[in-house]
């Protein structure tokens, strides 16, 4: 190893930081939006709508953009998805609406639905108008735990229906992973907070930050004091590698580091010269790309399977590659090598699929230098956050068990978002969960 550990902040000039953490995809101006909108065929029973977890009426809002009825377009979007602005920025559209767009089938060039959605929602948010009103007060109070996409979507829909909502949030700010997790260059310029303000703008929602379920409040009390409870706490736990050396300095959880990054001036964040990321999902891509953008020289993602098995979409993989990240497929770490209690290298082993299709090591090993190692091998639900009520709140495959209406096994308790997700964890799915739960809660309360 020999050389000193090289972890430093301020590797770049202020201008480089600004450029690296600005918008990855610049918004459409009016002219481009009109050209793009004109590409939409206004399909009947449009496949894009079906591919959107929140079923936004895409042809309708694109037509609104085309006719300069941008406020109408934005309202169409937000009616279906109150976080239409965030989703326009963070959705992996190539596997959702744009992947299903008939123009993908026709010419491999979908209508840029995400960018159009952003055009419309930005317009509305910037105009400062509030398109939603509240129904007459119902006198019902509902507790929402977690101010992430699931919780806020649920709170907003309930507030519109005339209920009063209190949102309890552990962190100092609302927004969930929009504020603390999504890559900085997808939602720069304080967008997450602007969106939270917009959502709260409908009225009837009280956001109480710094209040944690299981610490400051308890499910039993919430159920007593409120007509209904919605739990949208996301995934608090980070999976461990279970390898020797994991406790060494310089070994980080990717999500924790990203949370710091999202709250700090990038120039103040120390990053290594050589960075190794373990994992193959979007979190792995995000931490790898952001490490490069913080000025790391060598960033390598080590993933135990091939490109097509990666959780990260093809597009995300391309983003990593164009940002100078090396992806080493079919490799897995066997140990982290340290010196003076600090990580200095990762020893990896090539993998292959065995006869039965099971992943096996080959014993063919190599070593990568590393001043920093990021673990991005997934998160899990932390049952303790649920207040020791786990015995009552049924868990299935590590997540809160819910029915179609997002109702948990507990009476008057609903849940949504990553905390229940059995597939891919996406912002848009969390919003949909919140929306469905709100509808069910409303039905339950009004019957």
């Amino acid at each position: 190893m020999g050389d000193a550990v090289d972890i430093r902040a301020g590797r770049l000039t202020p201008a480089e930081y600004d450029a690296n953490f600005d918008e990855l995809y610049p918004p459409l101006d009016r002219k481009r939006a009109l050209v793009e909108a004109s590409r939409c065929y206004f399909c009947h029973d449009a496949p894009c709508v079906e591919a959107c977890p929140t079923s936004i009426d895409i042809p309708r809002f694109i037509r609104g953009i085309h006719t300069d009825n941008v406020a109408g377009a934005a309202t169409t979007i937000l009616e279906a998805n109150i976080m239409g602005g965030a989703c326009a920025r963070v959705c992996p559209t190539e596997i959702l609406c744009e992947g299903a767009c008939v123009r993908t089938a026709q010419e491999n060039k979908p209508v840029k639905i995400g960018l159009l959605q952003r055009y419309a929602t930005d317009h509305l948010l910037e105009s400062g108008t509030q398109p939603f009103t509240r129904a007459a007060p119902t006198g019902q109070r509902i507790a929402v735990v977690g101010a992430g996409p699931a919780g806020l979507a649920c709170a907003h829909a309930l507030a519109r229906d005339g209920h009063d909502v209190v949102v309890f949030e552990k962190r100092p700010k609302g927004g969930g992973l929009n504020e603390y997790g999504i890559a900085a260059y997808k939602v720069p310029h304080g967008f997450a907070q602007k969106e939270v303000e917009f959502i709260l703008g409908v009225g009837g929602i009280e956001l109480r930050c710094g209040v944690a379920l299981g610490r400051d409040i308890h499910l039993r009390d919430l159920r007593r004091e409120f007509s209904a409870v919605f739990i949208g706490v996301g995934l608090g736990g980070v999976n461990v590698l279970g390898l020797p050396g994991e406790e060494l300095a310089g070994v980080h959880n990717a999500v924790d580091y990203i949370a710091r990054l999202r709250q700090a001036d990038p120039a103040s964040l120390p990053v290594g010269h050589d960075v190794v990321v373990i994992g193959g999902g979007n979190t792995a891509i995000d931490i790898a790309v952001q490490s490069r953008r913080l000025g790391a020289t060598n960033v390598t993602i080590a993933y135990r399977r091939g490109a097509s098995q990666m959780g990260a979409t093809r597009h995300e993989q391309e983003v990593a590659q164009t940002n100078g990240v090396t992806i080493r497929h079919w490799t897995r770490p066997v140990r982290l090598i340290g010196e003076d209690d600090h990580v200095r290298a990762v020893e990896l082993e090539y993998t292959q699929l065995g006869q039965t299709g099971r992943l096996m090591g080959t014993d063919d090993r190599f070593t990568l230098r590393a001043d920093m190692v990021f673990k991005a091998i997934g998160q899990h639900l932390v049952p303790s956050a649920l207040d020791g009520s786990v015995d009552l709140l049924e868990i299935e495959r590590g997540k809160i068990k819910v029915n179609e209406d997002r109702m948990s096994s507990l009476d008057r308790v609903w849940a949504g978002g990553d905390a229940i997700g059995q597939g891919q964890d996406l912002t848009v799915q969390a919003v949909e969960d919140g929306k469905i739960a709100a509808r069910a809660i409303h039905r339950y309360l009004m019957d």
């Binding site: 009109l34 050209v35 065929y41 399909c43 009947h44 496949p47 026709q106």
Partner: protein
């Protein structure tokens, strides 16, 4: 390579692509650039009597459609706003420098014989190949008793053409206005007056839109708007119909036609020629893209003619005219059905919703294992073509003839016609 030379009313040109009388032909500078680019001829921007007219600023309006600019174009410009002498000098010089190109001079003067006589004399001296009487301009000039104000009265047309024929040896083209109920009356009048050819169409009365902030028709001139002349791709179908009307009219038989209206490509020009035209004049397309478009027009027409085995323009000129018939002469026994190529189909559902909401409920929207499939219900399909036009995928819906073995039967022969005169054999 096909021979693209054209001759119309004795006026010869190396190709049938001419620039119509308009800003592109306003002065020597433009016309020389056009000839360098390869245009076969020009009709010089309309000359009038001195003092020259004065134009407003804000002269053009446009209809943009779904991101496509200038599908329709409109103007409130008048005739040439440059002194007559200057125009004449330039015409003379250009004709001398470009002897093989056709140069017609468009004219518009008050409806008095002396005025026409005087201008014809001076134009003749330029050596121009002919004149085109502008009876078409629908705005501004018509308020002064010229342009379409003359073109809408067949008797005036006949009278002015007679004067012109009496006072010049040059071929006289008459440019017709489409702002009439039937194009045949003015065309026949031109022929009666002795016109050597007709040119059509001039622009169509239009307002391109209303500015909803100013509450003013567009294009707006300081808070007001006047109607202007409409042209560009959007008017081509109207022009084609009017050209066809004249081409098939027995009274106009043999009257040469220089076609104008929405011509942008070699294909547009070929269609007009097939409809009987001898040359194709272009204005909007040149104003949109510049003169260079003629390069593709020349090679495109030539390649298509080679492919079809046409050696000269005359080989296919008018070939579509005999097939332009009245509705009553169409075959009532002809049957076609929509057919969807499932491999090309991208599942946009537009065929279904068009037929379902507005036609004959003949396209079923099916789902098999969640996958969309659109299928024509032959028994319901009346063969209207709607779906094939709505479908965004080229060649995906074709209209396929159904072999019925039944003979060609017109409406007059159709037993379903309540006014049918029974045939002798029946």
């Amino acid at each position: 390579m096909a021979d693209l030379r054209c001759e119309i009313a004795g006026v010869k040109a190396p190709n049938p692509f001419w620039l119509a009388s308009a800003p592109p032909t306003d002065k020597e500078y433009n016309v020389v650039r056009a000839f360098k680019a390869g245009w076969g001829g020009v009709v010089w921007k309309t000359l009038g009597e001195d003092p020259p007219v004065v134009n407003t600023t804000s002269r053009y309006g446009a209809l943009h459609y779904r991101g496509h600019r200038m599908m329709g174009f409109n103007n409130i410009e008048l005739i040439s706003d440059r002194p007559l002498q200057l125009n004449l000098q330039e015409i003379k010089r250009v004709k001398k420098d470009w002897p093989d190109r056709a140069i017609l001079v468009s004219l518009m003067v008050p409806c008095e014989e002396e005025s026409w006589k005087a201008i014809l004399e001076v134009v003749e001296e330029t050596g121009a190949d002919g004149v085109e009487l502008n009876f078409g301009c629908p705005h501004g000039m018509s308020e002064r008793g010229m342009g379409s104000a003359v073109g809408q009265v067949p008797d005036y047309i006949e009278m002015v053409v007679r004067w012109c024929k009496a006072h010049t040896r040059m071929p006289v083209f008459v440019k017709l206005t489409p702002n009439v109920t039937s194009i045949l009356a003015p065309a026949r009048a031109a022929r009666r007056g002795g016109a050597d050819a007709v040119s059509l169409i001039n622009t169509i009365n239009s307002i391109t839109g209303v500015d909803l902030d100013l509450m003013t028709p567009m294009p707006t001139v300081h808070g007001k708007g006047a109607h202007g002349g409409y042209c560009g791709p959007a008017v081509k179908p109207i022009a084609l119909c009017m050209v066809g009307e004249i081409a098939r009219d027995t009274e106009c038989r043999g009257l040469p036609i220089s076609a104008i209206g929405g011509i942008e490509t070699w294909r547009d020009a070929a269609e007009f020629i097939a409809m009987g035209a001898g040359s194709a004049q272009v204005c909007t397309a040149a104003m949109h893209y510049g003169f260079r478009i003629v390069e593709d027009m020349v090679t495109g027409l030539s390649n298509w003619m080679d492919q079809k085995g046409y050696r000269s323009i005359e080989d296919f000129r008018g070939a579509a005219v005999p097939n332009y018939v009245d509705w009553k002469d169409l075959d009532m026994n002809w049957d076609i059905k929509a057919r969807i190529d499932q491999d090309l189909c991208i599942k946009c559902g537009l065929c279904h919703i068009a037929c379902e909401d507005t036609a004959h409920q003949a396209i079923a929207a099916l789902r098999t294992d969640g996958a969309r499939r659109y299928e024509v219900i032959d028994a319901e399909c009346v063969g209207c073509n709607l779906c094939s036009h709505a479908c965004p995928v080229e060649g995906c819906i074709t209209m396929v003839p159904v072999e019925s073995g039944r003979p060609y039967m017109t409406w007059e022969q159709d037993p379903r016609n309540p006014r049918r005169v029974p045939q002798a054999a029946e």
